[in-house]
Assembly symmetry: C2
Homo-oligomer: 243 residues x 2
DNA sequence: AAGTGGTCTAGACCACAAT
DNA sequence: TTGTGGTCTAGACCACTTA
């Protein structure tokens, strides 16, 4: 006896569809127990490995929760966290078909960093910190002010690069493996220096993106990206669920 | 002959570790071909199903690329897209240990929506649109102005709810399944109405989050969340790679 | 024709939880 | 002890690519 559809997809996909259908229709309520693997084997006429694969994949996709020795349950409604993807400004500008240009404003090694900067790096002892400020232009209009502080212990040769030619992003990506990233997005008025570099008036709205990255337990970079509010927006389109 | 580690993890995990180790050490370069499943079976002394499961999982995790009839390859370095997670404002406020309160400013059915609103909904014919404006307070300080336009064909009874008691977010989540979400984040000065409702001065920096959601091919909701720039920031911490 | 990955099975043994 | 999910195998057949 086989209650699975006849289309040409693999059996385990049909089992997944069967399960999702029963959840979607409300026949199998939230947190209720599913039939056991062996019951599904009998009911659907497929092998246990096939049922098991279907249930395992549905579990890793967040639809089910399985407890060894107990059973399989319909997972509570997913948090539906919606995500914004932050990508490379250069790629983004070029994707829009615009012309990109970068201008290096500062590229230096700071021998004695301010205490608050050391704090951001979670340094235990005073170390030099590399520092860069780059302006990114889209068709000669400044859109992003990119300020980076880099841990020279993890990234060597940072201040010897020509970041008008090489993207800081690419250089860092190859220099050290990132294991963790922290973001903070806020909206603040431009200060005098930001206004001058981005060619706006002081007090104009800016979108500020703070990004801090780690390589293992060590802070690799501390970054601040300032976007002109009226010229830029972070965007994303996200597909939910997905079968 | 067995070159896998001796720890107590499942065999397929050891195979995965073996593969990841060879990639991580550079022994198997980017885009290079892995040994075939049968070769790994011989080399590692496990069954083909076990090798297959390991490679399948590594593929779905983005480490490998497989082409039927051709082979298995080390995937090119991942785009390292970094993500911001947007969560429910109410949960967020409560997580911080603050007191949340919501105030309904507008709750109405718009019989004849403006053309630009219809455009956002991609409506083919003129339909009524439900509309709500809610202010969210954190300890009696307004932090978010939430404006929603809702498709009444997908969500029934929206304008009959008491959104001071029920979160619009929760109601919508249960009313219609979201299949797609689009976000746009920008920074703009507050207009007169925003300033009045959020208790700031006109022109003050605001963080604007536009969210548009779909149920299948149909636009379900069009939302604008306005945050006071000085009182709020979107944040996230994200673990990379991770095995 | 030979080699690759993709699927599927029947049966086995295990760890775990409930009874 | 029974039933659950977790893993593993040997062998089979298939679809696909390359030569």
């Amino acid at each position: 006896m086989n209650t699975l559809s006849d289309s040409a997809s693999p059996l385990y996909e049909k089992v997944k569809d069967f399960v999702l259908g029963n959840i979607g229709s409300g026949k199998w309520a939230r947190n209720s127990r599913l039939p056991s693997e062996n019951e599904l084997v009998s009911a659907l006429g497929v092998s246990r490995m096939t049922v098991h694969r279907a249930l395992r994949e549905l579990t890793s996709e967040g639809h089910l929760r399985r407890i060894q020795g107990v059973g399989t349950f319909v997972a509570p409604p997913r948090p539906r966290s919606t995500l914004i993807e932050i990508s490379n400004i250069i790629t983004e500008i070029k994707t829009r078909g615009s012309r990109h240009r970068a201008e290096v404003v500062v590229l230096e090694r700071i021998a004695r960093p301010e205490p608050e900067l050391l704090l951001a790096f979670e340094f235990e002892t005073v170390k030099p910190v590399d520092h860069s400020v780059v302006i990114h232009f889209e068709n000669d209009l400044p859109v992003q002010l990119e300020e980076r502080y880099v841990n020279p212990n993890l990234v060597s040769g940072y201040i010897d690069q020509d970041f008008a030619a090489v993207a800081t992003y690419d250089y860092l990506q190859n220099a050290t493996p990132l294991t963790e990233v922290e973001h903070l997005i806020s909206a603040l008025p431009a200060n005098a220096e930001q206004a001058r570099l981005l060619n706006v008036r002081p007090g104009d709205c800016c979108l500020i993106l703070h990004r801090k990255t780690w390589t293992g337990p060590v802070v690799a970079t501390v970054n601040t990206f300032t976007y002109v509010g009226s010229r830029y927006s972070l965007g994303s389109r996200y597909l939910h669920g997905g079968k």
